[in-house]
């Protein structure tokens, strides 16, 4: 067959509207995948950049000692940019005052990622600076200016060096959150460090070696250097910038990936359905071509070329559409996305293109292959079955195509297999159930008397087709439910993680005499704070009469990692007492003591600590506090939410138990940016206390989480749209049979109520079964996903037990009615003639 003929054939098909649905599915499939991939790709890179700024680099080696220069400068680091910082605590002196400060010395290349924001006057918004302070100059955090009574141009003494005060340091990308951020920041040039003479053997220093470059170069270096580092050195990657951001980012990436995967699946289903319909409607066509002398080879050639042309043209068009849609989304959302998105790469466009072609080949080819097998005798006997290409080939191709695409797309075989086999298993089991349900008690006749019985009888009669359709509907709804559930639990977890007014400053080492004045000071300034907790260092010495340290030593052979096996009994801990159970703590055993309790010493232990050491309620423990022993009975065991940014304790005593021991107090409070100067007054009046500032970190965490949340909502929306398209394609594909039935009923005089009623009931029932199937499948898959991939705690989701079937009924009922309403609008002859 020559190309000219094929093109004419294509044109006629197009004119006759035969290609509309197929093209529609293809367009939606490929544009969804392209849009999601493009958007995710840009967002992911933006988030990476943002997160990299947490470290001021892509990778950091942090160490208490200087690292061997041979490890830092070699062929692996040649392609990378490098910078170093050195952080230490020191007193700094102005002409007449002194202040404890956290000093950070930086090399000229610092920061490699993110920006330093500086100003000319304290407490301003500031502008980005090019690099850190030049040699001979120091930059000071705003509140140091009033605290030291200095202005720009004055001299500041660090150790034995005198350095000129330059700009005001408003914000640094990597403030850190640990010990080194105990005081306000002074930033200086690394070249001036020797002159200060503060770096002495035994000084407490933190060296950070910063690297930035291409992802490959960074990971090559990481791989090489990791085993060579001495103990005491740590490698921080982007995802380690802040633990919670790292986790959030990782999960968000997985979610976006999951969204993309489901998009591919939905796209495949839509294409398969419309290709099936296309093939079905062309059986006669092919039969006639064959009677006219076309060989099976010629038929293959014809349809393969037709499909190739459709595929290539539409995929190119679709990739362009996907690109434009994604540009539009970015444009609309840019006010809400605080990071600048990097330019889209070429990979997503290729992914979209390949997705389209693979979908077309694996989902559309098998039904088309059936066409070649059409027997010419069909011209005379239309009801001959044309299914001679084995179903195994059909399904095999679709399965292989799906798995291949998902795998290629996610680069994660485990995730692919998990989703795939979970979904498949659920579908197989449940389709058997659905089929059995439909077949039970087959009724005689069409039961045309009532819409109900007519609909149900019809459903039973077409049991096999309906089971398939329920599976398709169910699959689409299930995928939507999965995405919805995972999204909901991710967002819920993130929102509880850091509320907007989470304390962002910790105050420690507060002497008992300072407690009342500090409380008053906080209240006078309307600062929301946690109660002041007494804090005493101590440890458990005897666990149920056995030496705690001996126990820990014997367990050490098995596992020494606190993260895995739980907290050790013998470690030194901060002890406190409290009359009331702290917010966010939950009792899991025993009872909390009454607020006015003044009896024998009682203690409440954190669950993991109690579990690891097999301590139960009513057991008696001996504590060693400041060299003295204290006996206390365990009154309760409780859980603690460690990441709520509030003072949390493993061990809490009853009131009065610790009265004999001198203690200091601690608290945490929330300070708005505009209230920061309050810290000066606070520290000035109570110079012995220590304040740790974590506000910058919290703010960054919140920004990133907000961005990630938005991204997730967007992807959900895109998937919803493609899910609706699948439903439409699926209903369309089964429409001919329904239309014919209803048209014949119409000729025989059935009323509109009966016809539409039975259709509505049938669609709703299909939707209902699909919804039931969907929620069961979704529960199973979400269980696997949340426990295996997202590391969330799985909880059963009763809301989707209702949401699934209701969504199914409403969606499919609605789409079905829209698609079939012409049965009663148009005269039955027209419908029958169209279907003939």
């Amino acid at each position: 067959m020559n190309l000219n003929l094929i093109l004419r054939f294509l044109w006629r098909d197009w004119r006759a509207g035969e290609l509309t649905l197929l093209l529609g599915s293809l367009i939606v499939a490929v544009s969804t995948v392209t849009t999601i991939t493009l958007f995710v790709d840009r967002l992911q890179r933006a988030l990476h950049q943002e997160s990299a700024s947490f470290l001021a680099a892509d990778m950091v080696i942090r160490s208490g000692d200087e690292v061997d220069p041979g490890l830092l400068q070699n062929e692996f680091t040649a392609p990378l940019q490098r910078a170093e910082t050195l952080t230490f605590l020191s007193m700094v002196f102005s002409a007449d005052r002194a202040q404890f400060a956290s000093v950070k010395a930086v090399t000229d290349a610092y920061p490699l990622r993110g920006e330093l924001i500086t100003g000319d006057e304290p407490f301003q918004r500031g502008q980005p600076a090019e690099g850190g302070p030049p040699p001979g100059e120091v930059w000071l955090e705003s509140r140091l200016f009033p605290a030291l009574g200095v202005k720009s141009g004055d001299l500041l003494d660090i150790g034995v060096a005198s350095l000129r005060i330059g700009k005001v340091l408003i914000k640094e990308p990597d403030p850190g959150g640990g010990f080194e951020s105990t005081g306000p920041r002074v930033m200086m040039n690394m070249a001036d460090v020797p002159a200060t003479e503060v770096v002495q053997p035994g000084s407490r220093l933190t060296w950070s070696y910063l690297f930035a470059g291409s992802a490959d170069a960074v990971s090559d270096y990481d791989e090489w250097v990791r085993p060579r580092l001495l103990e005491g050195s740590r490698i921080l990657g982007i995802k380690d910038g802040a633990a919670s951001v790292g986790r959030a980012l990782e999960r968000a990436e997985r979610f976006l990936l999951l969204g993309g995967l489901l998009g591919v699946l939905l796209a495949g289903v839509a294409i398969a359905l419309s290709a099936q319909r296309y093939a079905f409607r062309h059986f006669d066509h092919v039969a006639i071509l064959k009677t006219l002398g076309a060989s099976p080879g010629a038929i293959d050639q014809l349809f393969l070329l037709v499909f190739l042309i459709i595929g290539v043209l539409s995929t190119i068009a679709d990739s362009a559409i996907g690109y434009l849609v994604q540009l539009g989304i970015v444009e609309i959302l840019s006010p809400y996305i605080p990071v600048a998105l990097p330019e889209p790469g070429i990979r997503p466009v290729i992914i979209g293109f390949v997705t389209g072609l693979v979908c077309l080949l694996s989902f559309a080819l098998p039904p088309i292959m059936r066409l070649r097998a059409t027997e010419p005798v069909r011209v005379i006997r239309r009801d001959l079955d044309s299914a001679t290409v084995s179903d195994r080939l059909t399904y095999g191709a679709a399965l292989a195509g799906t798995i291949g695409l998902m795998w290629w797309y996610s680069q994660d075989l485990w995730l692919t297999l998990l989703i795939f086999s979970g979904g498949l298993a659920a579908l197989i089991v449940l389709s058997v159930v659905a089929f059995a349900l439909l077949r039970s008690g087959r009724m005689l006749g069409m039961q045309a008397g009532s819409a109900w019985r007519l609909a149900l009888a019809g459903m039973q009669r077409r049991g096999q087709e309906n089971t398939l359709q329920i599976m398709v509907f169910g699959l689409a709804i299930m995928l939507l439910l999965i995405l919805f559930l995972v999204r909901t639990s991710l967002l819920a977890e993130w929102q509880t993680q850091i509320p907007a007014d989470a304390p962002n400053h910790f105050a420690m080492n507060i002497s008992p005499a300072d407690v009342a004045p500090i409380r008053t000071m906080l209240e006078d300034n309307n600062i929301h704070s946690q109660p002041l907790f007494p804090m005493i260092r101590g440890r458990i010495s005897l666990v149920n009469g056995e030496s705690a340290s001996a126990r820990d030593r014997s367990q050490r052979y098995q596992q020494d990692d606190e993260e895995q096996s739980g907290p050790r009994a013998s470690s030194g801990r901060n002890l406190t007492w409290s009359a009331t159970l702290p917010e966010d703590n939950k009792l899991v055993a025993g009872n909390w003591w009454p607020a006015d309790y003044r009896g024998e010493p009682l203690v409440s232990l954190e669950r993991d600590l109690a579990q690891r050491n097999k301590i139960a309620v009513d057991d008696e423990q001996v504590f060693t506090i400041q060299g003295r022993e204290l006996r206390a009975r365990v009154a309760s065991i409780r859980t603690v939410s460690w990441d709520n940014m509030q003072p949390n304790f493993y061990i809490i005593f009853s009131p009065g138990a610790l009265d004999d021991f001198p203690s200091t107090f601690m608290t945490s409070f929330y300070l708005d940016q505009s209230q920061k100067v309050f810290l000066n007054d606070l520290i000035h009046e109570h110079p012995t206390m220590t304040v740790i500032e974590v506000d910058a970190i919290i703010e960054q965490i919140q920004t990133i989480i907000a961005q990630v949340t938005l991204a997730i909502e967007l992807v959900l929306l895109l998937i919803l749209i493609s899910g609706a398209m699948v439903l439409l394609a699926s209903i369309q594909a089964s429409m001919d049979e329904r239309l014919k039935q209803q048209a014949i009923l119409r000729t025989l005089g059935a009323s509109q109520r009966l016809v539409m009623g039975s259709l509505l009931i049938e669609f709703c029932a299909l939707g209902f079964f699909a919804g039931v199937l969907a929620f069961i499948g979704a529960e199973v898959t979400v269980f696997a996903l949340e426990t295996q991939i997202f590391e969330l705690t799985y909880e059963i989701n009763p809301q989707i037990w209702i949401l699934g079937p209701v969504t199914g009924m409403v969606l499919i009922g609605l789409v079905g009615m829209l698609a079939t309403r012409k049965v009663v609008r148009v005269s039955p002859t027209i419908v029958l003639r169209e279907l003939a």
Binding site: R462, Q741, L745, L748, G749, S751, Q752, L754, S827
Partner: protein, 205 residues
């Protein structure tokens, strides 16, 4: 269609004859209320069907009209008896099944009640369609080329059956055909060409 004026009496058998594309099937669709003319009036019994909505026409069809199509138009997912039961079920007749059984026995298909259309020959399918047409106890029966898809021997049997039942039930029969022999068996033949009535008269028989 233009300038057509036609009256068909109760119990009359009328053939609409004409070449392919002359408009005979369109005329049948209009008479049966399956289609509506852009202008003009059509009465079926006492009712002006051109003034009815599609919904009302459907009700009227259910009440007094039966159909036999060239392409049979049986529902592939229903057995023979289920196809014949349809009209009775639509009218909520309690005896739809026994009535359908009788009719199928009457058309000689008592032994193929639970066969699906695809398991039946063309002639058998058309007999099921005829049984369905009479199952509605219609006053008027419209047949569109009822033998068009059948060989002449089978076609002749089908026609015999159709006329036999028609006499038995006293039904009015309007059929479209290009078969002059079939037309000759009707009381009257109406000739159509290019959408116009060219002859309207009693047949020779």
């Amino acid at each position: 269609m233009k300038g057509i004026s036609l009256e068909i009496k109760r119990s009359e058998t009328v053939a609409i004859v004409g070449a392919s594309g002359s408009g005979k099937t369109t005329l049948l669709s209009l008479l049966a209320g399956l289609d509506t003319p852009s202008r003009g009036q059509i009465f079926l019994g006492e009712r002006e069907i051109t003034a009815l909505t599609e919904e009302q026409r459907a009700a009227l069809r259910g009440e007094m009209v039966g159909f036999v199509f060239q392409t049979f138009q049986l529902l592939g997912s229903l057995t023979a008896i289920e196809n014949v039961m349809l009209p009775g079920e639509l009218k909520k007749q309690a005896d739809a099944e026994s009535h359908a059984r009788e009719l199928l026995e009457r058309v000689g298909l008592g032994h193929r009640l639970s066969h699906y259309p695809r398991q039946l020959s063309g002639g058998e399918q058309q007999r099921v369609a005829i049984a369905r047409a009479f199952a509605s106890s219609a006053e008027i029966l419209f047949a569109d080329e009822p033998t068009g898809n059948l060989d002449s021997a089978t076609g002749a049997t089908i026609i015999d059956l159709l006329f036999e039942l028609n006499r038995e039930f006293g039904t009015t029969l309007v059929l479209v055909t290009h078969d002059e022999r079939l037309a000759a068996r009707c009381d009257r033949a109406v000739h159509i060409a290019s959408g116009s009535l060219v002859a309207n008269g009693a047949t020779e028989e």
